[in-house]
């Protein structure tokens, strides 16, 4: 009996010694800080889905330079080389003031428009303790167009200005799929006719689907609620594109029925119809520069 116990204990202790190798690792895993909060990153590759901003903003000290370019309408025909003879563009700079707050400025050739915005990362999607299901960024922007109209001398800076507040709500559902909803409020100081509303409400829905590590398909649809813009035959803006990321650049090849690239233009002023072929081909190119350095 004693001998049996003796053998058993000897056996156990040898076993314990041998099993130690992996059990030391499992001891670490068991004692791992339970569900430490980890932020979900890279919900979108670029700062814009196509035209609409994404929840992403430049990291602190990062400068993002973006060129958005749209050719003419594809259905312009062979004389206009299917739109490629014409172009509108927007040049923009985005800068991360802090990890959460970014500032951006831009200039569009369409109506010689300036725009500026502040973007604040209110909530970040996370896993682990106190997990947050979505990322929320708030955007406040101001737009001013400077195109001269000789027959409208009353059109002063105030009348040319509009404002926007947008709440970007996004969730990275899987590594490949991210979706975003963005309720938007805009205020135009001057609208073309009395039938048009100065306050314009809309919602943008969009997303991206990654199909390789560096490439993804993006799409966005901006729903302009009815009876707000009456003087023109306005259409909802629908855009889709392919994102290609190479190092510090993101190239986006896009197709859209909107010519404008600021919210004040593509949300309430889109007249192109996908069905009739009023489609603008174009691209966005963004380049990231690290100005400030973290750590050592």
């Amino acid at each position: 009996m004693v001998r049996l116990v003796f053998t058993l204990i000897l056996f156990c202790s040898v076993l314990a010694g041998q099993a130690q190798d992996s059990s030391l690792l499992s001891m670490l895993d068991d004692s791992s800080a339970p569900g430490k909060k980890i932020l979900v990153t890279q919900t979108f590759k670029a700062k814009r889905i196509v035209n609409t901003q994404t929840v992403e903003a430049p990291a602190k000290g990062d400068l993002n330079f973006i060129i958005m370019h749209r050719f003419g309408e594809i259905n312009d025909g062979s004389y206009e080389f299917f739109g490629l003879d014409n172009a509108t563009m927007r040049i923009g700079l985005d800068y991360g003031l802090t990890e959460k707050l970014a500032i951006g400025i831009g200039r569009s050739s369409l109506e010689k428009t300036f725009d500026g915005y502040l973007k604040y990362k209110l909530l970040r999607q996370s896993t682990g303790a106190g997990a947050m299901p979505v990322s929320v960024s708030l955007v406040g922007s101001i737009t001013n167009y400077t195109l001269k109209f000789d027959n409208k001398p009353y059109l002063n800076a105030k009348y040319r200005t509009s404002y926007m507040v947008q709440a970007l709500v996004a969730r990275k559902i899987t590594t490949a799929l991210s979706l975003q909803v963005a309720p938007t409020w805009q205020h135009f100081n001057l609208v073309p006719t009395a039938r048009d509303k100065n306050e314009v409400f809309s919602t943008s829905i969009g997303g991206r689907l990654k199909f390789t590590k560096s490439m993804s398909i993006t799409a966005e649809y901006n729903i302009l609620f009815p009876d707000q813009v009456s003087s023109i035959d306005v259409k909802n803006s629908l855009s889709m594109g392919i994102d290609i990321e190479t190092g510090g650049h993101v190239f986006q090849l896009v197709f859209t029925n909107s010519q404008g690239m600021t919210e004040s233009q593509f949300i309430p002023r889109t007249t192109g119809s996908w069905g009739k072929g009023d489609i603008y081909f174009g691209f966005n190119i963004s380049r990231n520069f690290t100005l400030g350095k973290k750590g050592k």
Binding site: I9, C12, G17, D21, K36, T41, A59, T175, S214, N288
Partner: protein
Amino acid sequence: MKRCALVSLILFSVTFCFGQVYMTRNGNIKLSSDTPLESIRAENKDVEAAIDLNNRNIAFSLPLKSFVFTRSLMQEHFNEKYVESDKYPRSTFSGSFGETIPKGQDGSYPVKVRGKLTLHGVTRDVEIPGTFVRKGNVLTGTANFKLNPTDYKIRIPYIVRDKIEKETAIEVNIECNQKQ
């Protein structure tokens, strides 16, 4: 006599199982890559490690998302394209060493650690030279070695191949406290 042997054996096996285990939860691992085009530096301060001096075992476990890079874009690419930290959140190492570290004696001891390193879902046998420094109840382990990403099925795209060294330099520094 038999009873005496039995008791001493039990005592022995107990000390054997609850031996001299040193642990940390905030060890440090740095990685660096230097090419004429780009210098890459990252630091992870959330490394969990345990060293068992009696059984001469050592284990590491680290969350890859805790690597902080000097450039935020590098950090994004590291997580999304290279180590794929959503899919493989942790890297682990489990191994052993042959050298005996004398009990209760301060000093510096070179060791050769052999074991299995898991990264990006790939487990490989590795041999890493390192040093243990014991001072009181603190055991510090340091090691410098090189790791080839392609061994772990991490593909570096052609376009950035000139910017990333073929082998990444890893610098380990873990300061472990004796587990009570």
